[in-house]
C-alpha cells in the first residue's frame, strides 16, 4: 500500500493500492493548517490506506 503525491509514477511501476498524498513536501501533512487539522488530515489519509488494504 502506497501513499504518494506522485501518482503517475506509482501507477507506471505497477503499484496497485494507492492513495493520493497531500503534496511532495509533506505526503501525510499540511504546513498551512493548524496542528489539530493537520493530524486530522493525516488520519484520514492513513484510514484511506488501511481501507484500501482490506479490499
Amino acid at each position: 500500500m502506497q501513499i504518494t503525491a506522485a501518482l503517475p509514477v506509482a501507477k507506471m511501476v505497477g503499484a496497485n493500492r494507492l492513495v493520493l498524498g497531500n503534496g511532495i513536501v509533506h505526503v501525510v501533512g499540511d504546513a498551512k493548517v493548524s496542528k489539530e487539522d493537520e493530524k486530522k488530515l493525516r488520519r484520514r489519509l492513513v484510514e484511506q490506506a488501511l481501507a484500501a488494504m482490506q479490499k
Binding site: A5, G21, V25, H26, V27, V28, R42, L50, M53
Partner: protein, 346 residues
C-alpha cells in the same frame, strides 16, 4: 582455453531441494550440462573445474561463496567463467549473476550465464554482464548452450558483440554510436509510415517496461494485523548511521520507533536531494505518520505497529538498484512477520 563452470545442486547432479543446503564443492572436468558446453565451445576449450553449490547455501552465504569461487577460478587459471543456464530458477539465477559480475570485475576474464528474462537475477545483473536469454524451458538446453558458447567465443576473441536480438542475450541498456546513411527524421517517417500501414518495424528506443505486479490478497482482519511503515523520503536518525545517499541510494535502513509516540524533528534528518525537506524536518510525522498509527494501535483499529520503520531515499536511482532494495525490504518484512505495509513516497 581453460573454463570454470558453476552449477547448482540440481544441474550438478547432487540432488533436488533436499540438497539445497550443500556448500561449495569442486570437481575436476565437466559435469552435466558442462559436457555439452565443452563440446560446443570447440576443441581448444576445456572445462577444467566444475563448481557445484546448493541454492540455499549460495543465497545465504553469498559473500563467503563469492570469495571461495574467486579463489577457485584464480587457481584454475581460467580464461572463461560460465554459470548456468538457470532458466527460471530464481536463487540459481541471482547467484550466477552475482558470481559472473564478481569474476568479471575482480579477475577481468570473460563471463557468461543464461536465464529467463523473468528470473530475478536478470534484472539485477543484465546491465553488468552478458546473460543469454534461456527462456523458461529447460528442454532447450542444447539451444541455450549453443548460444552461450558462440557468445563466449566472441568475448574470448575480443570480437565486436552484436545487438541483443542478433546474439540472443538480454538487453544490457548499452547504447553504441553507429554511422548510418539516413537522418533521424527520415528513419522516423519511415517507421511511422510502416506503423500506419500495419507493417512490422523496429524502434531505435526501447522504453523501460514494468511487469505487472500481482495484487497481494486483502487483509482479512486489520485488528490482528502487524503493520509496518516504510518511506522512500529519506528520513534517517540524526547522523545518518547507515550513510544512505541522498541520490541514487544503494542502501536502506531499519530504524527503531519502539516506545515513541510522535516523531521529533530534533532526532532526525533527511537524506534526499529531490524535495524541499524543511516541512518534514519540522515534523517527521508529515512523512512517516507515527502519531496517527499509534492512535489507531491504541484504539485497536490495527493489531500492532511494528517497532521499526524502513527508510531509503528514492531519487535518480537505476532500476536494477531499486528492484534489489525492494526485494531486500520485502524479504525483511516477511522475516519479521509483517502483514501490511504503508509506504509513503515523496
Amino acid at each position: 582455453m581453460r573454463v570454470v563452470h558453476y552449477l547448482n545442486q540440481f544441474f550438478g547432479g547432487l540432488g533436488g531441494e533436499e540438497k539445497a543446503g550443500t556448500g561449495l564443492e569442486s570437481r575436476d572436468g565437466a559435469v552435466g550440462p558442462g559436457k555439452l558446453l565443452e563440446q560446443l565451445l570447440g576443441s581448444d576449450c576445456q572445462v577444467v573445474t566444475t563448481l557445484i553449490c546448493g541454492d540455499n547455501y549460495a543465497v545465504e552465504n553469498r559473500e563467503a561463496l563469492t570469495a571461495a569461487v574467486l579463489k577457485k577460478v584464480r587457481t584454475a587459471r581460467a580464461d572463461l567463467f560460465v554459470a548456468g543456464p538457470c532458466f527460471l530458477a530464481g536463487r540459481y539465477g541471482m547467484v550466477s549473476g552475482a558470481l559472473c559480475a564478481a569474476v568479471q570485475s575482480k579477475l577481468n576474464i570473460p563471463v557468461i550465464t543464461a536465464m529467463a528474462a523473468e528470473n530475478p537475477g536478470a534484472d539485477l545483473y543484465r546491465e553488468f554482464i552478458y546473460i543469454v536469454d534461456s527462456g523458461d524451458n529447460g528442454a532447450k538446453m542444447r539451444d541455450v548452450l549453443t548460444r552461450m558458447a558462440a557468445l563466449a567465443q566472441k568475448l574470448m576473441r575480443h570480437e565486436t558483440i552484436g545487438s541483443p536480438k542478433e546474439e540472443g542475450y538480454l538487453a544490457r541498456g548499452l547504447i553504441r554510436d553507429e554511422f548510418v546513411e539516413r537522418t533521424a527524421g527520415e528513419r522516423l517517417v519511415d517507421m511511422l509510415l510502416k506503423k500506419v500501414r500495419g507493417e512490422p518495424f523496429e524502434s531505435e528506443m526501447s522504453p523501460t517496461t514494468f511487469a505487472p505486479v500481482p495484487k497481494p490478497p486483502a487483509i482479512a482482519d486489520l485488528t490482528k494485523a502487524r503493520v509496518m511503515l516504510v518511506t522512500d523520503g529519506g528520513l534517517v536518525p540524526k547522523g545518518n548511521p547507515d550513510k544512505i545517499q541522498g541520490s541514487a541510494a544503494t542502501r536502506w535502513g531499519l530504524y527503531s520507533i519502539k516506545g515513541c509516540q510522535d516523531l521529533d524533528g530534533a532526532d532526525y534528518e533527511i537524506s534526499h536531494g529531490g524535495y524541499d525537506p524543511q516541512f518534514v524536518r519540522q515534523d517527521p510525522d508529515r512523512l512517516v505518520p507515527l502519531d496517527v498509527m499509534r492512535d489507531l494501535e491504541h484504539e485497536g483499529v490495527i493489531g500492532e505497529l511494528h517497532e521499526e520503520f524502513i527508510s531509503t531515499s528514492g531519487l535518480s536511482n537505476p532500476l536494477s538498484n531499486t528492484r534489489r532494495m525492494g526485494r531486500e525490504m520485502a524479504a525483511k518484512a516477511k522475516q519479521l512477520g509483517i502483514d501490511a505495509i504503508i509506504l509513503t513516497s515523496t
